[in-house]
């Protein structure tokens, strides 16, 4: 123990406790000897993201902010799973008791390990950061099997586990957390009903009108909402919940109940130690309690008669506290916070800040309401500043509004710009003008200066990279627009980042969850996905990716809405920079015949094709074709499409192999033809280019293809995957060595299907193989460690069977105008208006 260091004991290892320690270390990295008590048996995690854990879009392991190593690296002693019970202010020690393994960390009567020795830690200063616990309104029967609260990782776990045994679930409380819990439950396959005591949802953040619309939106997602329902009793039958009784005499049958009806500060330790406690632990502007040596921060605090239940105020409190306790700025003061928040419910866009109703006679109220689309926007302007705002259905401007609200900036004279963006597309708020200390990400407390540094010095040029580097945007996500603007401002351009979390930007789900939801709900068209999973918002940037995924998921059954395809896939040709197209007929294995060549030549002449070129994939490209000519040319050619325009199996090229080559040890031509016949038209996250080589001299470049087969001595074939020779160059990894052509086809098909199921949209195989790793892939695809090989083989066979040559549409266009160029408009009905 170091005698010279100041002893600091922190009670509570949640978002406030860990944050204040980080702030202190930033200011004085070695002045304090720090001990932390945490009732939860973990390091600190991002509580905000529990909603994502419950709805399955994030794994529990992804939300840790301070893993145990962080405590070790910073010399902090952490008593995890230990509850501090009293501060002995005479002896200046904090006393703690280890909790039972499955104790409810935040319960007032959390079970301590019987007879365990108490822990005593001496202090110079204490910081109390005990947070709050969920509030349970008075009702009979809460606490029995099937009743839950929603506050910790353990809660999430238990809710998810129990939901597996249920058909119906009820959530008591229609506030922010209740709705997030309800949405989370929905992903566990139960029917969910939200019970709200007030006449509307989210009464703290919404006015009546928007509350009503939100209710419609939630119901549209399949969540039942009942308002003015006060639960009086939970009725059990044989150890399980049977129904709920309400004050108005009605009842509801359900299998489980999650209560999320507000929070109450945890103050027992302060009270037991003789500190002033009112609703919360009373603190002054320097975050001091009634004892000069004891501070408090976070949800347990009552500051100027106010309690806070969001993280943004906590960051400010933590900074002030750190300034004071380290002497960095002994006069620092926390003066209270303005509150703004965003609902993190998939498929609902909602942001709210400040007042929901005017309160002074001169308050200006701007309201826009479009019930048919569930869009509602409201802003209250007071003394030319934003006093409050609600954005429902469309939140594009939420980030800017929040900035202006938080900083008290003067609003532009055209108020509409703040709700809809400017008509010129110019940003309302120039991010250049914000000072470096302006906080951009309120969830994680990240300032403009930190983000700028990540962009300029850290070279993070995409929103997700900035997030990975600074944590900005990883909370509720409402600041992502501002982060993008900052990247544009300081780096010129935002990079596309295919590693963004969502499979497509317009549907807030990662691929695995998206696939699960699509299957569970049986969604077979792109418009159905938007309707059910994106609040009916048809995001054009997501259509193409969804179409490709659906086609993979429902071979033969997919409801193919052509407008969701990229132009190349609508007209089965590659669009060129001048708006003409290119035609690439399939040439199996790169082997053609004089008759086929003659036909191609004749077609090229007949349609005045300006250029005929050999491609890198051993076939012929007819370039500069007018759209109207496409179907005619395909008919005249009589050769199937080479799929040179789409995210799919492209070609399999080959070397001369055994027929004529002096060195060949395997029949690469025949194998390439077999491959191409089998896999033609198979769609995938990105294109797949293949090759076969008759010997390891690799004339056909099989080592650097998405999939390659290389013949070796002894009549065997090596299968390589994840090779690349484009902008990136990578030698493929050896998946396995097999003896027959049939086996080559089998393992290649298996890999393709796995890639189709697990690859991110636009992820080439080289990225995919690197991401998953060749060893795990060998285990899964060769050793069958997950027992899925038979299924993969069956799925790819289905896809092979569903192949249709798209050029057959030459006979019968799939929709009007598919192959039409510009239509001459005839002035059928002319009317001159002078005005």
């Amino acid at each position: 123990m170091n005698q010279n260091k100041t002893k600091l004991v922190v009670v509570g290892n949640g978002m406030a406790g860990a944050r204040v320690v980080e702030e202190i270390l930033k200011r004085a990295s070695d002045r304090f000897e720090i001990v932390m008590f945490g009732a939860e048996p973990y390091g600190n995690y991002n509580r905000i993201l529990l909603s994502n854990v419950l709805n399955g879009s994030q794994a529990a392991s992804e939300i840790f902010m301070n893993p145990l190593a962080w405590y070790r690296d910073n010399g902090i002693k952490l008593h995890a799973g230990v509850r501090a019970t009293r501060i002995d202010r005479q002896r200046k020690v904090v006393i703690g008791a280890p909790l039972e393994k499955d104790a409810l960390a935040y319960a007032a009567d959390a079970a301590a390990v019987p007879d365990a020795a108490l822990i005593e830690e001496p202090y110079d200063h204490v910081i109390i950061a005990t947070g709050s616990r969920p509030f349970v309104p008075p009702m009979e029967g809460f606490g029995g099997p099937g009743t839950f609260l929603f506050r910790t990782l353990d809660d999430c776990d238990q809710i998810a586990n129990y939901a597996k045994t249920c058909k119906e679930a009820a959530v008591i409380g229609g506030g922010l957390l209740g709705l997030e819990a309800a949405r989370g439950l929905l992903t566990h396959g139960v029917e969910v009903t939200v019970l709200e005591a007030a006449p509307q949802l989210m009464i703290a953040q919404l006015d009546f009108e928007s509350g009503k619309m939100l209710r419609d939106t939630m119901e549209g997602m399949g969540i039942q909402v009942m308002c003015e329902k006060i639960t009086t009793k939970i009725v059990y039958d044989d150890g399980r919940i049977r129904r709920l009784d309400f004050k108005d005499g009605s009842t509801l049958e359900t299998d489980m109940v999650v209560v999320s009806a507000g929070i109450r500060p945890i103050t027992e330790i302060a009270a037991a130690s003789g500190l002033t406690v009112n609703k919360g632990i009373v603190c002054d502007d320097q975050m001091r309690t009634s004892d000069r040596d004891i501070f408090a921060v976070g949800e347990c605090v009552e500051h100027r008669h106010k309690l806070y239940g969001l993280v943004d105020p906590i960051w400010d409190q933590a900074k002030t506290l750190a300034d004071v306790i380290t002497g960095f700025n002994p006069k620092a003061e926390y003066l209270g916070s303005r509150l703004g928040t965003k609902l993190k419910v998939m498929g609902v866009e909602l942001a709210s800040m400040g007042d929901t109703k005017p309160s002074l006679p001169d308050d200006e109220v701007i309201v826009y309401s479009e019930p048919s689309r569930g869009v509602y926007k409201k802003m209250i302007v007071r003394e030319n500043q934003i006093a409050g705002a609600i954005l429902l259905g469309e939140t594009d401007t939420a980030g800017v509004l929040m900035q202006m609200f938080m900083t008290g900036a003067a609003v532009p004279s055209r108020r509409a710009d703040l709700l809809f963006g400017t008509s010129s597309g110019m940003p309302v708020l120039s991010v250049f003008d914000l000072p470096d200390h302006a906080q951009i990400c309120n969830c994680n407390g990240i300032s403009k200066g930190e983000i700028k540094e990540a962009i300029v010095i850290g070279k993070c040029h995409s929103v997700s990279k900035v997030g990975a580097c600074t944590k900005a945007g990883l909370g509720c996500g409402s600041c992502k627009v501002l982060v993008a603007q900052l990247i544009e401002a300081y780096a010129g351009e935002v990079d596309d980042d295919p590693t963004e979390d969502y499979y497509v930007p317009g549907v807030p789900l990662e691929k695995a969850q998206l696939v699960a939801e699509i299957k569970r709900r049986g969604l077979k068209s792109v418009s159905a996905v938007f309707r059910e999973l994106a609040g009916d918002k048809e995001d054009p940037g997501s259509k193409v990716g969804l179409a490709s995924l659906l086609k993979t998921l429902w071979p033969g059954e997919y409801d193919d809405e052509r407008d969701a395809r990229f132009v190349n896939d609508r007209v089965h040709a590659n669009i060129q920079k001048d708006g003409t197209f290119s035609v690439v007929p399939r040439i199996y294995g790169g082997v053609t015949s004089p008759a086929e060549l003659r036909r191609i030549a004749e077609v090229a002449e007949k349609y005045n094709v300006p250029m005929v070129k050999f491609t890198g994939g051993q076939r012929l490209d007819l370039l500069g074709v007018k759209k109207d000519d496409l179907p005619k040319m395909w008919k005249d050619l009589g050769i199937p499409s080479g799929h040179a325009y789409t995210k799919a199996f492209r070609t399999c090229k080959s070397c001369v192999g055994t027929d004529f080559c002096r060195y060949g040890v395997g029949d690469s031509i025949k194998l390439a033809q077999e491959i191409e016949h089998r896999f033609q038209g198979i769609e995938s996250p990105h294109k797949m280019k293949l090759a076969t080589a008759g010997c390891p001299r690799n004339c056909s470049e099989a080592y650097v293809k998405d999939l390659g087969a290389v013949a070796i001595e002894g009549g065997k074939w090596e299968i390589y995957i994840g090779g690349a020779a484009g902008g990136s160059v990578r030698k493929g990894d050896l998946l396995c060595t097999v003896a027959t052509h049939a086996d080559v086809l089998k393992y290649m098909g298996r890999f393709m299907q796995y890639y189709r199921e697990h690859g991110k949209y636009l992820e080439r195989t080289y990225g995919f193989v690197e991401r998953i790793g060749i060893e795990p892939l060998k285990m899964i695809l060769v050793e069958d460690s997950e027992g899925i090989c038979a299924r993969l083989d069956a799925e790819i066979q289905k896809a092979v069977d569903a192949y249709k040559d798209p050029w057959k549409e030459a006979e019968l266009p799939a929709y009007p105008g598919q192959f039409n160029g510009p239509e001459l408009a005839h002035a059928l009905e002319l009317a001159e208006n002078n005005g």
Binding site: G425, K537, E538, G541, R562, R565, Q818, N820, E823
Partner: protein, 102 residues
């Protein structure tokens, strides 16, 4: 200012969710029929490098140019990139026909 109203023929000539290019005099105009039922009309050529916007994917009142994915708002003509916007025209449905005002 004088405006002309032109009947472009049956709305069924544009499949739901698609666009189509019409030649009005020597102007190319892209008309879109969004799945929601809304009709939009804008200049067909992308201000960036002449991409054919009528071939773009649409949704939520926006079109994505097929060449380099710049986006344009179909109602206002505003572009995703600074200094790029397209001309918009008034278009509506009348007795099953598309009626354009230029």
């Amino acid at each position: 200012m004088s405006t002309t109203t032109i009947n472009l023929g049956s709305i069924e000539n544009i499949a739901l969710g698609h666009g189509r290019c019409y030649l009005v005099g020597d102007e190319e105009i892209a008309v879109f029929r969004q799945r929601s039922g809304h009709l939009f009309a804008i200049q067909n050529r992308c201000p960036h490098r002449n991409g054919t916007l009528s071939e773009g994917v649409i949704g939520a009142g926006k079109v994505i140019c097929p060449l380099h994915s710049h986006k344009f708002d179909l109602a206002s003509g505003a572009g995703s990139e600074a200094d790029e916007c397209v001309k918009v025209y008034t278009v509506r449905e009348l007795d099953g026909d598309i009626v354009l005002t230029v």
